[in-house]
Symmetry: C2
Subunit: 200 residues, 2 copies
């Protein structure tokens, strides 16, 4: 009798599957209430096996949140790389970033403790994300300056100001505090206002 | 023997004294750790007597925070009523409001739970404060439009945008999260940037 070849599992695929199941549980049950054992259970594996891939629940959350932030960065790039007037693209980018954060991070109430935990446990990730976003916007401002649409003595400081102005509309905790307001209208007004500050 | 005239105490003075002692304790010991009995003790009166003036510790805190907010509104009025270019006054007003909030609400670490409790227990106060500040800034924008310095289709929406842009630099929780950054430089850059969005 020949030994049946045991299907090889790709470690990357296992990691991916763990993240997917964990994200589902964090969203449904909440980050604080989910345990690594719960995640392992749904995957039909042992908790010890999950720990071979991730040191802790916090490490799993870090990866999930990093992917959410990567999604936001991708969105920003799409607007930067599009055709057309840099002013219009910056305005659209800001509104889209607000909507992305409002919908991904806040819409589902249970997400809140996951995001809050990620912000407090992995502040470095958030800082890196802000740096990247800042640099992407700086690039778009430079493009606008070259095209004669924008005027800015220092594109880096200008990008800082743009993001600073949109802080309340991008920060999950602040979005949640104002979730009953008409944030979409506010975001559109604010984006137009902020872009006006850059106009040549 | 004539009965010694008992000094009459003015209820307003007692209220004032209670608020003063309570604010001192909230700042030194923290809001959560201070009890009405502690406040009464320092005043040499019974807790029951304190309760004749304020229904609860939360009611005391509401009055203290309302006074802090009134102080901020006074500061805003001073800039609005000053002489000179409306653009320069708006810029100075924004930087001054940031400094006021940073110094009054945040500098003393123990203040934080007092402010956080006030924000969550008395959200209506904060909303009223924002409304007043918004209207004061709207007035300054209208003045700038009349003077030909500012251009704004709708001064109310413009004031909303100005305050929205400065939200991160005015909100105590957000200031605290970034307290290690060079917030003063940031506030100056942001104020100049925001005023630029209004320029005619």
């Amino acid at each position: 009798m020949t030994k049946a070849a045991r299907p090889r599992t790709d470690p990357d695929e296992v990691r991916e599957k763990i993240l997917e199941v964990a994200e589902g549980q964090f969203r449904r049950i909440g980050y604080q209430k989910t345990t690594v054992a719960d995640i392992a259970d749904e995957l039909g594996m042992s908790a010890a096996n999950v720990y071979r891939f991730f040191q802790s629940k916090s490490a799993i959350n870090q990866c999930i949140c990093a992917r959410l932030l990567d999604g936001a960065i991708e969105l920003a790039w799409r607007h930067v790389r599009a055709e057309g007037d840099p002013a219009e693209r910056l305005e659209a980018l800001l509104v889209a970033m607000h909507r992305h954060n409002r919908e991904t991070l806040i819409q589902e109430r249970r997400m809140h403790d996951m995001v809050a935990a990620a912000v407090s446990e992995h502040w470095e990730n958030v800082k890196t994300y802000k740096e990247r976003l800042n640099t992407i916007i700086e690039g778009l401002i430079r493009e606008g300056v070259d095209a004669g649409v924008f005027a800015a003595d220092d594109a880096r400081i200008a990008a800082d100001c743009v993001l600073g102005c949109f802080g309340m509309l991008l920060h999950p905790v602040m979005i949640e505090q104002c979730i009953d307001d008409d944030l979409d209208t506010k975001a559109r007004h604010m984006a137009r206002f902020v872009v006006r500050a850059l106009k040549a």
